[in-house]
Symmetry: C2
Subunit: 236 residues, 2 copies
């Protein structure tokens, strides 16, 4: 069996598509639940639209900016740990060689069996540091360019997702014949369909069975909206 | 230098504390931004409290349940991939041995240098599968019990965090002399302090410099709240 085909079987995700789907399915859930919840307490579409848009602004910034800063911290953490490993490989190579042997020992290899690899690694300090980063510390090298693109993609998808459940309420503020109950029912219908679709796509890109992912995503949205509805109704 | 001290230097997080801090600092941000945003548009504390509590219900369920289901999917994905590796190690051992050699080759080792390790691994199929999971696929074994505890911790912390910015508005619904502007200012002050404190603690547990993490967390909250405020004011 050729190497390439074998690798492909484990392939799961196009990162941009995954960011879109994650941002969008999250954006669908909370603004949807908030709008449905408020409909249980407030009979004015204008207020629900205002609250919904405020939530979309807050949620997309918190999610996008939070993700961006977390990714930047990860990259700095990686760089810091890498410097440390680099220094250690230079200054206390015997200790680091013992750590490599220790890694192999935890996989059932005797020290004698791992010795050739340990010695070979010690001859390539650059690769040795890479090896320690991944196999001793379990850290993957972060892609510095991904952070910004990923943050923007998630934030914009959150906005796009959040506008779907709000759309019927926006219509209701302009069209007087379109009641708030019609807006709620349209929002529930529209959002359930969107949650099922995005859950399905999300499943395909994250390795879960698509149908199950679709039902799970719709379930999370429904439970969140149901709880928000009951709480808003109880206190109003 | 003893092995244990060396390992400790890379120690970063108590998982439960991290879940609390992550849930709480997220819970602080969005309900805070929503309440501040609505104050720009609506002059009634009761509606802001209703919207805030609906958001807290929706956000905590979405975050907790979403996290739980994602963790469960990860665990199943891991189990599925492990079964596949187990089968491959049994059925096409030569191919898998070539893959192990390939992993070492990417770290600068010749095939001759890695041969002893490859052969030693081949004698311990169980450990070999573990090795492939971590080093070929980069997958860590998920802890099945963590998922539920982690989800509940994050959800409850989100609720606790979200109640902090809402508290002054709750007071305002009962105490007539406490105006909505006083509620807004108290909420901003209270939440900024809370964001700084939680950002600081978060930094200590995620490896970022605490002071910087404190300022970043407060910045995200402020930007999200500012954007929500401006949008709500513009459309109302």
């Amino acid at each position: 069996m050729p190497q390439t085909r074998h690798t492909e079987r484990h392939f799961t995700a196009g990162e941009t598509v995954r960011d879109i789907v994650i941002g969008m399915s999250d954006g669908l859930t909370v603004p949807f639940a908030l709008a449905a919840g408020l409909t249980g307490a407030i009979n004015r579409a204008g207020i629900i639209v205002t609250a919904g848009l405020a939530e979309i602004a807050a949620g997309s910034i918190a999610m996008g900016l939070g993700g961006y800063l977390a990714a930047k911290s990860d990259a700095e953490h990686y760089a810091k740990e890498r410097e440390r490993e680099k220094r250690e490989v230079k200054e206390i190579p015997e200790e680091e060689m013992r750590e490599v042997a220790q890694v192999f020992h935890s996989y059932g290899l005797t020290y004698a069996e791992s010795a050739p690899v340990v010695e070979a690694l010690a001859r390539h300090p650059q690769k040795w540091v890479d090896f320690m980063m991944r196999f001793e510390l379990g850290l993957e090298k972060p892609d510095p360019k991904r952070a910004l693109i990923s943050a923007l993609t998630i934030a914009l998808s959150y906005v796009a997702g959040g506008l779907i459940p709000l759309a019927p309420y926006i219509v209701a503020t302009y069209a007087r014949r379109f009641s708030i109950i019609s807006a709620l029912l349209s929002s529930v219908g529209l959002t359930l369909i969107a949650l099922l679709v995005f859950g399905f796509v999300k499943g395909r890109f994250t390795g879960t069975r698509p149908l199950r992912s679709a039902l799970q995503t719709a379930l999370i949205g429904s439970l969140a909206a149901g709880a928000a509805f009951l709480i808003a109704r109880a206190i109003s």
